[in-house]
């Protein structure tokens, strides 16, 4: 059952992937780069993630937001959940918020370099959208750096 959910979660937010911009790689466009929930994630949180996925596919970002916020209330130290929230903010075009949440996720990520890399992609994309080209390039470099450290 859990496995099935993981597969479903693979495509979380895939429905709202935006087009790639020059120089900045987007987080989660390639499903193989999409971060799965951590293995010890509780069934309570998994059930909310699944609902958030459905809400996102339906374009109901606000509902997804409520559901994902509930997940971080339940597991505030689960880095992946903060990452999902950051990604959602990105799709809501709330770039400043996306950066903060991605940083929080990275802080909690420990040695999960794949997750940290994806967080840097979120930051890169957000910075670019906010007109901070230099910051975007720097973040992109960081993303590559962490991608290489698997």
């Amino acid at each position: 059952m859990k496995q099935l959910l993981y597969i479903l979660v693979l495509f979380i937010f895939a429905g709202c992937a935006t087009t790639q911009r020059a120089g900045v790689e987007l987080p989660g466009e390639d499903p193989s780069k999409t971060v799965l929930p951590e293995k010890n994630t509780s069934p309570a949180v998994i059930s909310l993630i699944e609902k958030a996925r459905v809400a996102t596919q339906q374009g109901d970002y606000q509902r997804a937001e409520v559901l994902l916020e509930r997940t971080v209330h339940i597991e505030p130290k689960n880095a992946t959940l903060w990452h999902y929230l950051a990604k959602l903010r990105l799709h809501q075009s709330r770039y400043q918020d996306a950066v903060g949440l991605a940083q929080k996720s990275s802080y909690l990520a420990g040695s999960n370099n794949k997750l940290i890399a994806d967080n840097w992609r979120i930051i890169a994309h957000s910075k670019q959208q906010m007109g901070d080209q230099a910051g975007a390039v720097q973040a992109q470099d960081k993303a590559r750096q962490f991608s290489g450290q698997r």
Partner: protein, 793 residues
């Protein structure tokens, strides 16, 4: 009927005219006094009519105003956070039961109806209530929840025995945002009300309601005769419309003049509004009971108050009981006069049977039932004025007061209702005991704020030693010097200079005199009036040495300290005065909370929030207040300061906490201002941040230090908070070391006076302390225990 009445009056008038003429003629024969003749009757009549019309217009204005208000005023409802239930949730069975009680869930031998439960030790059998939330609607479910120690161990569906991963209870209604009147309403529309309710009301209170024009002249006449016979007022003869008018103006005066006004207003209401509109207003307005200072108006609120159920779930027995109360909630008081109430309910059932509103079978079945009114009832309104005040202020950024009072918004706040009650109770108890101890004549005041460290959601807020008092909200408005609570800002600014400072660095704790801008000499002293010479940074911080802190602060410089202060969430720039280094800056408890929240969340600042979401009257989403985080300070640097703040609670000025909260690690700082005018404690665990202030409103000395005053209340609150132990996250850049606090050199956990502290890699001392004072047996045991309770992950 009305038409006939008009015709009759016309006939009368036509008959009168010739009579008058005849009178005029006869006046020649029977002379009347001259002055009487001189009165211009027509003018007097016209003048009286004009005055009467003006008065009627005035009454019309008044009664329509009241009616419109009652019709449109849907005060915002304020809810606590809903309790999410899932396996391993940190919650004990007793606190869970308290939450159920706050939700007015009722004990039932075999829970079947929604809103009922049964407890068997650590297991609860519950039928939850359905509730509409922003994201998903929760359905009513029959569940079994088991607890083990301080957490939920299992939730399962009683019907199919399957595990339930997650479930949300309905949220506790904390109160409402009302206009000036101190009353609550739970307004319902006629279509929300049970169909039977208007029928019962018409049958019992006013049979001709749908036929009359606001008043029932025959009923008034009957009452008039009955009253004359009895020699006192025994019968009212009021229609539903008249009773509604009476309720608008809330007066028990029984005079003819009032009756006259009431009759005119009732006719006016009937003229302006549909019968159904009047019925709806009546259902919402009628007075049905009292809960201390709160009047219970309307069937919506009364249904919650007496039966802990929404109105549409009431059965005939319950509906007729409420209708029985209309005649006089105190006369028919359920506990004081149960027999009266029962006989009135039975009389109502008889009337319903006579009127063929109910069948004989239903009559018989209902009459045999007891009246089951809940015993411990309360109106959940106005109980947490300080918290509601914060909610209102945060709402006002987007909603004008008028909108809050009238549009029936649903406000979902962040309050943990059980923790809020505990914080209030702890405040009351602790203040009473400190007052006695220090003989402060009840002048000691208090404020307390507890927030979730990650989300910065306010869980509890106290603004007065009497938490029910809704006056000056000290948690938000008492701006007082923060004293040593500023020291972590100074030490963090120093520790950020990795090459220059670490916890092992030496600073001079020696008398210092500084010339201030106004040419005065400022000479700070230590609390113990002693200078301690060369001390380590960690000793200066844990012992809260003033002279060492001033010297360190002057070395770092104001711009740097101000920058850190602002990043932590300081509301305004710090003025560059030396006394600022010892906390001369005034801040309110909630502003201090923001600073410490950033520390508690590893440098991720989140704005302090009391609201999650606002829904409109139909449950449609209006506005969210999302979680926001901003990394304002490097997390590694925060971990440095946090390890020092943990030591403050182990060996420093807040060491009392290691006894008060022996099983968890917390970090914090005491604050005491000149002559003990302010007693502060600010600190955090792994999940909560709390700030407590004690002092007097007229700024008098209290003889309480941060440690003997505020810290005690802080510990009381945190003992109830079911809070997590603080852990310091390791990273690639920092490490933990055991340090001798006197010399700052490397030490061992078994050595007396050693502390475990965080260092940026490469900055910890490399030299070991020569002698390791052997600890006593007790300290050795403590150290072993300490080893089990490692602070570092």
């Amino acid at each position: 009927m009305a038409r006939r009445a008009t015709k009759k009056s016309k006939k009368k008038r036509s008959r009168r005219v010739p009579r008058r003429t005849s009178k005029k003629k006869s006046s020649r024969k029977l002379p009347v006094p001259g002055f009487f003749r001189k009165i211009p009757w027509l003018k007097v009549f016209a003048a009286v009519t004009v005055v009467f019309l003006i008065y009627v217009t005035y009454l019309d204005f008044v009664v329509r105003g009241s009616f419109e208000d009652s019709r449109w005023q849907l005060p915002a409802k304020v809810y606590a956070r809903p309790l999410e239930l899932y396996q391993n949730l940190r919650l004990n069975a007793d606190d869970f039961e308290r939450e159920l009680n706050l939700l007015n869930y009722r004990y039932a031998y075999q829970p079947k109806e929604s809103g009922t439960f049964q407890r068997d030790g650590n297991g609860f059998d519950i039928v939850t209530r359905a509730f509409t939330f922003w994201d998903i609607n929760e359905l009513s479910q029959h569940i079994h929840v088991s607890f083990s120690g301080d957490h939920v161990s299992r939730i399962k569906n009683v019907r199919d025995g399957k595990e339930i991963a997650l479930l949300r209870l309905d949220p506790v209604l904390v109160g409402g945002i009302y206009p000036l009147k101190k009353e609550d309403r739970k307004l319902i529309t006629l279509k929300d009300a049970p169909e039977l309710l208007p029928e019962i009301l018409v049958a019992v209170e006013d049979r001709k309601f749908y036929k009359h024009f606001g008043i029932d002249p025959m009923a008034i006449a009957r009452a008039f005769i009955a009253n004359i016979r009895a020699g006192k007022s025994v019968q009212g003869g009021s229609t539903i419309t008249q009773q509604l008018v009476k309720n608008f103006f809330l007066t028990n005066e029984r005079s003819l003049w009032r009756k006259f006004n009431e009759i005119i207003m009732a006719v006016l209401l009937d003229f302006h509004y549909e019968k159904d509109e009047i019925m709806q207003a009546y259902i919402n307005e009628i007075y049905l009971g009292q809960d201390r200072s709160h009047a219970v108006h309307g069937f919506g609120l009364a249904s919650q108050f007496y039966f802990a159920k929404p109105i549409h779930q009431l059965n005939l027995n319950q509906l007729t009981t409420l209708v029985a109360l209309i005649r006089g909630p105190s006369y028919y008081h359920p506990e004081n006069h149960p027999k009266r109430l029962l006989s009135r309910r039975n009389r109502i059932l008889e009337i319903l049977l006579e009127q063929k509103v109910i069948s004989p079978e239903l009559y018989a079945a209902t009459k045999s039932l007891n009246i089951n009114i809940i015993k411990k009832r309360h109106v959940a309104v106005g109980q947490h004025p300080a918290f509601l005040d914060l909610v209102k202020r945060q709402l006002r950024e987007y909603y004008p007061e008028e909108k809050l009072q009238s549009e029936g918004l649903k406000i979902f706040t962040t309050m943990n209702p059980v923790l809020q009650l505990d914080a209030e109770q702890s405040t009351r108890k602790r203040l009473a005991s400190l007052d006695r101890q220090k003989k402060l004549n009840n002048k000691l005041q208090a404020a307390a704020v507890v927030v979730n460290s990650t989300s910065a959601e306010v869980l509890a807020l106290v603004g007065d030693r009497n938490p029910r008092f809704s006056g000056f909200n000290r948690a938000l408005d008492a701006s007082r010097p923060i004293g040593s609570l500023i020291k972590p800002v100074v030490y963090l600014s120093a520790l950020q200079q990795h090459e220059k400072h670490s916890w092992s660095s030496i600073v001079l704790d020696k008398s210092i005199s500084i010339k201030t801008k106004d040419e005065n000499i400022w000479t700070p002293r230590n609390y113990d009036n002693t200078s301690h010479g060369e001390v380590t940074l960690i000793t200066a911080m844990t012992k809260s040495y003033n002279q060492a802190t001033v010297r360190l602060g002057l070395e770092i410089g104001f711009p740097k300290i101000n920058q850190v202060y602002k990043k932590l969430g300081g509301p305004e720039d710090l003025p560059p005065y030396p006394s600022i280094l010892l906390g001369a800056q005034n801040l309110s408890p909630i502003e201090v909370t923001q600073l410490y929240q950033t520390l508690a969340a590893n440098g991720f600042r989140s704005p302090i929030r009391a609201i999650r979401e606002v829904l409109d009257v139909d449950g449609q989403p209006l506005r969210r207040y999302p979680i926001k985080v901003q990394q304002s300070i490097n997390s590694d640097d925060i971990n440095l300061i946090t390890s020092g703040l943990v030591q403050v609670t182990k060996t420093g000025t807040a060491s009392a906490l290691s006894k008060r909260l022996p099983n968890i690690h917390v970090a914090g700082k005491t604050g005491t201002t000149n002559d003990t005018r302010d007693s502060w404690f600010a600190g955090f665990s792994g999940s909560h941040v709390g700030v407590v202030w004690l002092g007097t409103d007229d700024n008098q000395p209290t003889q309480l230090t941060g440690s003997t005053g505020a810290l005690q209340l802080w510990a009381d609150i945190f003992r109830h908070a079911n809070t997590e132990s603080l852990k310091i996250e390791k990273s690639d850049n920092i490490e933990s070391q055991w340090i001798d606090s006197k010399t700052g050199l490397l030490s061992k956990s078994s050595c007396s006076g050693s502390m475990q502290l965080t260092f940026v890699k490469g900055t910890a001392p490399t030299e070991s302390a020569n002698d390791c004072p052997r600890s006593g047996v007790r300290e050795q045991i403590n150290n072993t225990v300490e080893w089990f309770k490692q602070i570092f992950r």
